[in-house]
Structure formats: structure tokens, C-alpha cells
Symmetry: C2
């Protein structure tokens, strides 16, 4: 057995797996378009399975297609889990999530090659449907794993062609037999930052101390059908116009709280959405974020006042039909400390950060001690085919993951 | 042969045909949902065919499914055409278009019953796909009839499930053999007002002197994909937000020019339109209307300045990719005069109006003398299942149609 402190991942081997993934489900502009449970998702799952075999690990798949590659420990204890996801947005990048799965796999291969057998098993995970781009909402499979939702809910998520998650999972051959969810000791997730700070400051390792407080809402707008020609302005109840006024109000709130705050209208569904007719229904998904929880609550209050004013002015009913929040101090101090100590020992500069995106780790943090580590991505560009990571500035975070996971698995 | 001046339509028989149509393709709230080339459209075409047979007229169908019921004249001259359309919006009314087809049929039956044979043939028409709700744009089949578009264009209109007009027309059995378009002497269209004036003023007959000048545009917005979480406001190029700002600017212009002016954003397509990701593309269909052509041009100029300002502020590219205009003095003075004289002779109060909606008559007016007559609809509500017409206030316009058509056919 080699000197454990001197262990380093094989950066070339790791990078090669990221690049092999990058050939599966190419987009149109150099990135990836690998929506959950498509043929491309099936193909990258097969690649992951082959790499797991090559590493001598045992692969299991649960009823939601979550893939677990197990490296046995000295004792049969709940494992330390590390990983992320291999699915992408419709026009996504080659690194988001993928470096987390391949990095965790590389960490375990490094241990296996060195003959290091920690006390606890280590399980490398590929979570299904993290992006939720095809089967909303995001992170649905880890939500079921964490018991936040039931299995039937997970299987019944539906895409725009009314195909269910369960049907499509069976179609690609990844509907496993295993129960979703098992006891775990701790969870670590490596992910690209999806923000500009590490890249701008030239720091390779982000220690994620929590999630940026985020409030999300789904609104439903009810107006009235009418002919676009003769109906006078005063008689109109145009759901599309009301939704547009809400979107503008929300955007204005984001600007008032910039640069730390931000607001997003991401999705708007309008019905019947036809030329010549005033739409009677709209549904809008939106959110607001700020590092300070109290500020987010203030933004939410501003937004709710704005929505009321829009409803009055547009003569439409605007109702909040769903609310969600995430972020805050969700990560485990002990796990965060293991990551920070690993970076210090390895001599890598690091920054404390809040995650501004949702991650499967948020769900797992509700049932087990969890933490995240970030690597830089160029200009913070992500969910975009132009997303880019450099090999040299990605490997340090993989080494940090290796040593934090090992330290936890040896406890 | 009876005294021609004393001829009146059989109001009960007419109303019965409107009510028989109202049973085909019911909506959910008392109206109709009878999109072009659906099974319901097929069924109402069969009803129309049966009524044409009963009246002893000859039915022909052209390659776009336009249906023509011919009542022979004394001479083989280009016919006078009268009619409208039997298709509806997805949540439409029982009268829009339908009273125009059934009214024209009733007028001809009245002539036939009385043994009146005018000099020219009279052809009752049911135009395909007036609404364009399923196969945009509206009035596509009359556009081909008038030579404004080619047959292939008409057949290749496509619905949201990528089915073509041609395929669906064949499926319902109404792809006729006849060439689209033939010489006509004149055209009259009876339609519900689709506005509140006749109803509010208690006047049963609207003499349509032209179309309200209308300018329409299709805009395409190009932004950039980005993750909704980390991307700061300053780096965002959210196509949905830019489109929303355009919609609000257009709505504000409508309010500045109300009550005579109005503006509409009717349809917005956003891509990828998913939670968690900033959309990079949007397409928006919008229009502006005012009785004064110069004012519409001024509204358009205001709008174009607003679009530029939005593009700058939102860091998105906003491009006008299509423009259309309709309305103006499109109707024939002689035909308009025949309608007015008929109303006077019959002793029906009448108003001069501009049509604020598009109609097949607009297309036909480009190739033949054309005019329209309106009947009232309650509160001007239309393109809505609550659309309502009273039998007693509808019949006068049918009598006016009868006498104007007969006068023209005897010239």
C-alpha cells in the first residue's frame, strides 16, 4: 500500500473519460444535447458501465435508473457516495455534471490502483434526470432517493410528447430492479462552478458552503378569449400581456438587486397562443436569488406586490400555484471541513462559495452529511454549448474530492 | 314568379341550419371547437352538403376543399359569390362565419322556392380554413383562390403535429378535383360584427365600407442560453425577457391610442422555454389597428422605436422577419351601395362600419368587386364560446344579403 497522502488522480485518464463522454450526443455548437433517457443518454450510460467494469467495480441500477458503482470497503457499512449526473440540457456543455461523475470514478480507480481499501465502501453515482430539461422538475431521481418524493411520482414525470419517465427508462434499458434509496454515510459532489468567480480569480477549487437562497414560484394567469381585431383595449383580458408584465416586473427587481441578486423568468406557456385571438391562459415559472436570505424574502415581497398590480391593471387573475425554495446552510460542516483540509494539504488555492444552481447534493443533504466542491468554468458560462473547462484547472478539484472522500470513508 | 321586392328569407329555416351546425364540434362552454380539417369540420361539411342537395343546388369542391353550391342563372356568366366559413377557433362561437354560409344558402333557397332565376348564377361558398387556428395563417384557402398564394403553399400549411393541410384534407375526404379559383362577377360576405357597435346601438345591419387599417409583424428575438442560477443580470441575454418587454411596449402603445386604436400580442414561441435555463430564442406575432391609416403608421413607428430600445436594454437581437398589412378601402363602392339600398328598401336601420377582423372577403376583394354586411353579436364578444347572436337581430342582415346578391346577379 502506497503512502496515502501522496495519492494523486491520473489526470490524463480522467480527462480522457470526459472527452469520451463529450462525443456522445453532440449539440450543434461544440457542446452536448443529451437529454435524460434519450438514446444519447443510453449511450453515455453504457460508456459509464464499461468504465465501471474496467475499474473492477460492481454496478447496480435502481428503479429510476440511478447508477451506482461500488468499491468495497473493509467493513460492510453505509457507503460514502460521490458523483453527479451525465444528462445535459438541450444545448448544454461537456462538463456540467460530467466532471463530477468521471471525477468520482477516477478517484476510486486511483484508490483501487494503489490498493487502498478504506473502512467504508465508496459508491460512485450517476443520478438520472438531474437537469429535468426533458422530464421536469430537475433532480427528480435524487429527490426520490432522498425520500422527498415517492417512486410513482418519479416514474410518472412526463415529457412534452406525453411520454413518461418510466416508459422511456424501460425503452433505453435502464429500468433497474433495485429499490430507490439506501442508507449512506455521507455524500460528496464535484461539479463545475457554473459561475465566474473561480475562473476570474484564478483559483482552482471552490469549497461550497451552502446554496444561494432561492425562491421559486409558478404562476397561473387567467384572462379571456377574444378576437384580436375588434375587442377594444378596455375589454381585453390578455393572459399573455399580463404574463409579460409580470416578467418585466420580475426582471426589474433583479436589476434593483444586482449584481448579487438576480431574477429569472425561464418558462412561459400560453394558451391558445394563436395569431388573431387573445390568449386566456398562461403559466409562468420564475425565481429570485440573493446570497442573503433576508434580501430574497424582500425581493419576494416586492414581486408579490408587483403581481397584484399587474393583475389589477390587466384585468386578469394571477395566482401563485406552486412555491419552492432551496439553498441556505444545507451542507455538513464536517464534510465541508474535509474538503477544505484536503485542498490545504494538496496546496491548492481555494475559495468558499455558495452554489447558485440546484444540485442533486441538495436533495441528498436532507438525509446524509453532504458537501460539494467546484472546479472553474470559463467566464462562468454554462447551460450553453460554449461551456468550457481546462484540464489543468479541473484536476485539482478531483484530487480534493479523492482525499475528502477517502478521509470520510476511513472514519 | 312572385314579386321580387317582397321576398324575405325563411328566418326559422335559416336559424335551424345555424343550430344544426351548433351541434357539431361542441366546445366545453356552449360554443364550438371545430378546427379546420378535423372530424368535426368534416361533419359540418357533410351537413352543408346535405342542405345543398335539399335545396337542389350543385356542389363542387376544389383542391383546397373550398365548397361551392351553384344556383344556375339565366345566362352562363361569371357568378355572384356569397358565403363565409364553417370552421371555428379552438374555443369559438356558434355564429362567426356560420351565419354567413347558412345565410347565403338561405338566400338562394328563398330565390329557388319563389322560382326567381337571376341573370347570373349565384354560388354559395364555404371557404376552408378561414380561422387558421390549426393551419396558420388565417384565410389561406381564399388567398389561393384569389391568386395571392399558390396551390402548393395552401396544401403545405402545417399544424402543430406537423400534419399538412393536404394530408388532413384528404383524410376527411374533402380534397376535391377542381382547380382553385375561377372568374367571378362579385362577392358578398355576411358575418357577425365581432365588435360591440351594432349591439350597443340596437342596429341590426352593418354596412362594411372597408377594413380597419392593420399592421402586423413577426419578430424574432435572439439571446443566449445560460444557467438561471449563477448568471449575473449583467451577463444575461434572456430572449423571453426581451420578448416580454416588447409585448408590454406594444400594449402601452395600444392604451395610448385607445379607444379607437388597439394593439395585440397574440402568440409567443420561446425556446428552449425550460425551468433553470435562460431562453435564447423567441418569436412574437403582434399587430396594431386604428380606423385612421395615418395613426396606424404612427403607432408602427412608435413600436419600432420601442423595439430598438428593448434590444439595447436586453442585449438581445430583435429582428422584424415578416410584415403584413390589411384593411383600408378595399370594398367596392357599387357592392356597398347595393347593400345599403337593400337595407333602406327593407326598412332596416343600418350603420356604416369598418371591419376590424380579417375576412376571406379581403382576399376576394383583390380580384372582384366585393362587400360585406354585418349582423350584431352580443357585447361584441367573439372568438369565445360565449359569443351570442339573437335570431331576430340576425335575420335582417340575411334579407339584406338576399336583395343585394339578387340585384347584382340581375345586372
Amino acid at each position: 500500500m502506497s503512502d496515502v497522502a501522496s495519492l494523486r488522480v491520473d489526470g490524463d485518464r480522467f480527462w480522457d473519460t470526459v472527452m469520451r463522454s463529450a462525443a456522445i450526443g453532440p449539440g450543434v455548437a461544440g457542446g452536448l444535447s443529451r437529454l435524460a433517457l434519450t438514446d444519447a443518454d443510453r449511450d453515455v450510460r453504457r460508456l459509464f458501465g464499461a468504465l465501471v467494469d474496467e475499474a473492477g467495480l460492481t454496478l447496480t441500477v435502481d428503479k429510476l435508473g440511478n447508477m451506482f458503482a461500488r468499491y468495497e470497503g473493509r467493513e460492510d457499512l453505509p457507503p460514502v457516495v460521490a458523483g453527479s449526473h451525465l444528462d445535459t440540457q438541450v444545448a448544454g456543455g461537456r462538463f456540467d455534471g460530467i466532471v463530477g461523475v468521471m471525477g468520482a470514478l477516477e478517484a476510486v480507480r486511483t484508490l483501487a490502483d494503489a490498493g487502498v481499501r478504506p473502512r467504508r465502501p465508496i459508491v460512485v453515482v450517476n443520478w438520472s434526470n438531474e437537469e429535468g430539461a426533458r422530464f421536469p422538475p430537475p433532480m427528480s431521481a435524487s429527490a426520490v432517493f432522498a425520500g422527498l418524493q415517492g417512486l410513482e411520482w418519479g416514474l410518472s414525470r412526463v415529457d412534452r410528447d406525453a411520454r413518461t419517465f418510466g416508459e422511456e427508462l424501460a425503452r433505453i434499458g435502464y429500468a433497474g430492479d433495485d429499490k430507490v434509496g439506501f442508507p449512506i454515510d455521507a455524500c460528496f459532489e464535484l461539479h463545475i462552478e457554473q459561475g465566474p468567480r473561480l475562473d476570474a480569480e484564478g483559483v482552482p477549487v471552490g469549497i461550497v458552503t451552502g446554496g444561494a437562497p432561492t425562491r421559486g414560484l409558478k404562476l397561473e394567469v387567467r384572462g379571456e378569449h377574444a378576437h384580436a381585431g375588434p375587442t377594444p383595449m378596455l375589454k381585453r383580458r390578455n393572459a399573455l400581456v399580463a404574463a409579460a408584465r409580470v416578467i418585466v416586473a420580475l426582471d426589474d427587481i433583479g436589476w434593483r438587486h444586482a449584481p448579487a441578486g438576480k431574477t429569472t423568468s425561464a418558462r412561459l406557456d400560453v394558451s391558445p397562443n394563436l395569431s388573431g385571438i387573445i390568449s386566456n391562459e398562461a403559466a409562468l415559472w420564475c425565481d429570485m436569488r440573493h446570497p442573503e436570505a433576508a434580501t430574497v424574502e424582500g425581493m419576494l415581497a416586492e414581486f408579490e406586490r408587483a403581481v397584484e398590480a399587474v393583475a389589477d391593471a390587466s384585468r386578469c387573475d394571477v395566482e401563485v400555484v406552486e412555491r419552492w425554495c432551496f439553498g441556505g446552510d444545507i451542507f455538513d460542516d464536517g464534510c465541508v471541513a474535509l474538503l477544505r483540509e484536503a485542498a490545504d494539504r494538496l496546496g491548492h488555492a481555494h475559495l468558499d462559495l455558495l452554489s447558485e444552481a440546484g444540485h442533486d447534493a441538495y436533495n441528498i443533504a436532507t438525509v446524509a452529511p453532504t458537501a460539494m466542491v467546484f472546479c472553474p468554468c470559463r467566464d462562468g458560462i454554462t447551460h450553453n454549448e460554449a461551456e468550457h473547462c481546462d484540464k489543468a484547472t479541473t484536476i485539482p478539484a478531483v484530487d480534493v474530492l479523492l482525499h475528502a472522500v477517502l478521509a470520510r470513508a476511513d472514519r
